[in-house]
Symmetry: C2
Subunit: 241 residues, 2 copies
């Protein structure tokens, strides 16, 4: 639990977020200000601020007569959220193609893809590096759409751990499987960029949607495994039973 020069609100925010995402607080659990204040040794005011921001992030819901409840995510919600990301990224790709992406962004995206190539051809894949690069690529896609509104909503969705573009990748056991998945994803990245560069908006949209669909297949695969295997999937810790 970090304690640098953070404000009390930030400390509470980090701790509580961690607990929710980590599954320590299961969906439907009501959070009481006094109890939390007592436990975390922080006064009610910053606790309240933290709860409010968690509601803003979509991890909590406001109860009827005040109060906050941990939002519960069912499998169907996870799948829907990933698909929704696909829809939004599809729209971003379409906008980028229709409006014409800035040459600088396109060039940068090409460089990122080159870097990703370098990472995935290694014998031991550095997943942290891949995730970082993948996130940058998807961020560039959002930028190329030149729509702050869309970028905002995409950021909101992506903030949920299971909807992030790099979710569920670190959880594949076999190297071959992982390498195959990443190779296909990279081909999709190239195709999306190509469609945008050629101003093929329909193609760009479809490809981006399909790209997210791969993430959905990943979840469905992981959930078809034995429960024991699912234990380690940190992105799914907050799933309801």
């Amino acid at each position: 639990m970090p304690d640098g020069s953070l404000t009390q609100t930030q400390k509470a925010l980090i701790t509580l977020r961690q607990r929710i995402l980590g599954g320590a607080l299961s969906g439907g659990t009501r959070l009481f200000e006094v109890a939390l204040a007592d436990e975390l040794q922080i006064s009610r005011t910053p606790i309240r601020a933290a709860l409010s921001r968690l509601a803003e992030e979509g991890l909590l819901e406001r109860g009827k007569g005040g109060g906050f409840v941990v939002r519960s995510f069912a499998l169907a919600d996870v799948v829907d959220t990933i698909d929704l990301r696909g829809v939004l990224e599809g729209t971003a790709a379409r906008y980028a193609a229709e409006r014409g992406a800035p040459a600088a962004a396109l060039a940068k995206a090409q460089l990122v893809l080159r870097d990703i190539d370098r990472v995935i051809c290694q014998q031991v894949i550095d997943m942290e590096a891949y995730s970082a690069l993948n996130t940058v690529f998807h961020g560039l896609l959002a930028d190329m759409a030149q729509s702050p509104t869309l970028a905002r909503e995409l950021a909101r969705i992506t903030a949920l751990p299971f909807a992030s573009p790099s979710a569920f990748l670190e959880d594949h056991e076999r190297l071959e499987t992982l390498q195959r998945i990443l190779t296909v994803a990279q081909a999709q990245h190239r195709a999306i960029l190509d469609a945008i560069a050629n101003r093929e908006s329909g193609r760009a949209e479809s490809l981006a949607r399909e790209h997210a669909r791969a993430a959905r297949r990943n979840v469905e695969f992981l959930l078809s495994q034995e429960a024991a295997l699912r234990e380690g999937v940190s992105s799914l810790a907050l799933l309801a039973e």
Copy 2:
């Protein structure tokens, strides 16, 4: 300014929301807790809570070192947001078609369309009644998708006054123009419902997107008018200069 048995937070929330939507606070304006507390005769704590919720609604943004700033909406943002609603409603319609909408919802939607018919064939159109029915119809569409995630995001977007399904309709001067617009919209409603009932997902999605496009055309038309005419368009009061 209402004062029933509302909490201070609610009062502050309502007042501030009204000011932002009404354009009394232009985009980029920073809101200071103390100043607001002093002016509204409410202590800082509920002011803070209200500001936090307005940030959640998307009307305010959090500044770098704390503090809140009124979000500024340019014309491009309005257009993008309406299109985004189209994308989301398109997705809702597609889901409804793919998953199969509950018979009860379909029947209810048919009834609503019947009611809308009755409203728009009048000599003097009761716009309040139309807006209410139109909102119900769009709400049913969101329900038929059977995706809480999607419904949530749709509700978020629709909360912005210029992105609501019924925005900009009350601002048409000539009766014939209004009647033509509503007639076309109603035809689109029917087509969307038909596509959903027939499980034609692609058609349903395209139609719902096009339906939102009509709202976009409305904005663009209104903004092409003289500034004097735009004065009365309440949904656009918060637009940046």
